[in-house]
Amino acid sequence: MKGKFDVEKEYGRWQETALKKALERSPERRKSFQTTSNIDLKPVYTPLDIEGLDYLKELGFPGEYPFTRGVRPTMYRGRFWTMRQYAGFATAEETNQRYHYLLKQGQTGLSVAFDLPTQIGYDSDHPLCTGEVGKCGVAIDSLADMEILFEKIPLDKVSTSMTINATAAILLAMYCAVAEEQGVPLDHLRGTVQNDILKEYTARGTYIYPPKESMRIITDIFSYSKDHLPQWNTISISGYHIREAGSSAVQEVAFTLANGIAYVEAAIAAGLDVDSFAGRLSFFFGVHNNFVEEIAKFRAARRMWARIMRERFGAKQPTSWMLRFHTQTAGCTLTAQQPDNNVVRVAFQALAAVLGGTQSLHTNSRDEAFALPSEESVTIALRTQQIIAHESGVGDTIDPLAGSYAIEALTDKIENKAFEYINKIDEMGGGIKAIESGFMQGEIADSAYRYQREIEHKERIVVGLNEFTAEETPFTDILKISPQVERYQKEKLDKVRAQRDPQKVKDALEKLKQAAQGTDNLMPPILEAVKRYATLGEIADVLREIYGEYKEHTIIT
């Protein structure tokens, strides 16, 4: 290999002469350059860094194992990613209007944000819900609200993603019931329920039941969907919230895939064949500021999952090996200072997600360090995606950064470091054990604290926050949720309770109770209860009574 020898020799010469001389004249800006995952970056990457790279084994072709270059043979030359802005606030009526607005602006899929009572299984009139109704998402108490939420939105034409976890089975059942009312067969429905409870325990906090019982509900959804909702993504295994809680890029990949492994193991233990459900697993990542690291992260995650599914679980279907994912730009990078700068941050992050091969994308709005986005802000965020798609040209050739020495070296590095974590978690007994022991939470909290200290010590510059600051007038042009929403929602709920057939509700809830005590799939009785206008809180309470509630262990390390 004469070529390799030449490069090595020349690299050594360059370091000793040109680089050395330059450094003697003036040192580099910092002692070391590191990514968020503490990966030391070299001054320059060369063919030596990808010397062992076996193209066919490590990269291959788009749409083929190990999918490093993308999950589809055509990627964005076929069609662009789905532009899916996460939206929901106040009442179903108001959110329905926002959806119609977004679809009219060229958005291609819906993404439902529910308020916290809906996510944690309380009706709007529950005493714990004071102040929370309709605040960080739309309030859904019963099928009546869901009917309004999707009014005049044909469910066979749009795909809908629902950020719902502990109560995913109930909201999925409501969605199915609305589809039936619209005359849309269930096997035509396309969309996703987040349904990822494990990251709720570590990073997001909307759990209800303990892990074991939650896993049973999740595998029941897998099982029901494979028979009735073949186009539905039954879970969105999420690194986004892990990252938002403070993790590094490597930890995001490692903990997400470790959780993924736990779900696959649970489903296999519940008697499902791996290829019967694995193709409907989907993923969700954040996209942060470090451009090169983020692109490498997505590529590494795809290759890792393919290897895990094929080698570890023996999945035979190519669709079982594919890591299909949604991306959201990182909310934690938005600044309250000089909020218009956020538009620029979001654009770079979104570009990294596209260069990383995302299947769908949410771009944050500039005002989200203050409140849910205004219509004007959300339009700029959507336009950002449209500009990347239609003007930048990055979608015209697939995985255009492949072969870059730095990108490939970093893709390898992230894969190796993330597998080290996964091995460690395996040794602890798996993802659930690593959560119960507080391992993941501790690692995330440590990274979050380090990040904050770096900002405060100016080792990390955030424009407008700790450098290039300016006196500014308060940004007040934001979305406001009327306090009337809570009262209105309670009135609607009273009306639903008064108009339904109480005996039928009681019978349906009793059937659910029996299923929950035994081993029958929970989805059919939940669907039945929903159609009888049993409320979300009533259904969640039946399961609370039997399964109990999870209590977190909080430790400040």
Partner: protein, 134 residues
């Protein structure tokens, strides 16, 4: 010497699960020489007040990112006052719009810290407010 450490309760009222900020601040205050108790998520104002009294804290720091701060923060102050506690400094932070801050202050929240606030600023604020008593 002779000075008792400032005791702080960091609390998450309501249903919000975003605890990155609460945990970071808990740790920063501890590293800043204070004794810190963290409630964990999903606490009612009643639970927070009971813990604050039981632990005899000097400061209650409330964190809320869900938008429920206008209802929950004042409720904590109100319940503290009802229990006859009026010497506890109550501060808050989270996703809180500028427009909401005056009313929160009027309700007895001594300071509201928005995203991006250096932890040092919060430590200084607490020390200045409580300085003489400790």
């Amino acid at each position: 010497m002779g000075k008792r450490k400032i005791r702080v309760l960091i609390a998450k009222p309501g249903l919000d699960g975003h605890d990155r900020g609460a945990k970071v601040i808990a740790r920063a205050l501890r590293d800043g020489g204070m004794e810190v108790i963290y409630t964990g998520i999903r606490q009612t104002p009643e639970q927070i007040v009971a813990t604050a009294i039981q632990e005899g804290v000097d400061v209650v720091g409330l964190s809320c990112l869900s938008g429920a701060h206008n209802q929950l923060f004042p409720q904590v102050v109100k319940l503290l006052r009802k229990q006859g506690v009026d010497d506890v400094l109550v501060i808050g932070g989270g996703i809180i719009p500028y427009d909401d801050i005056p009313a929160l202050k009027k309700a007895g929240i001594a300071a509201v810290f928005q995203p991006g606030t250096p932890t040092e600023e919060i430590i200084t604020f607490i020390n200045e407010r409580l300085g003489d008593h400790h």
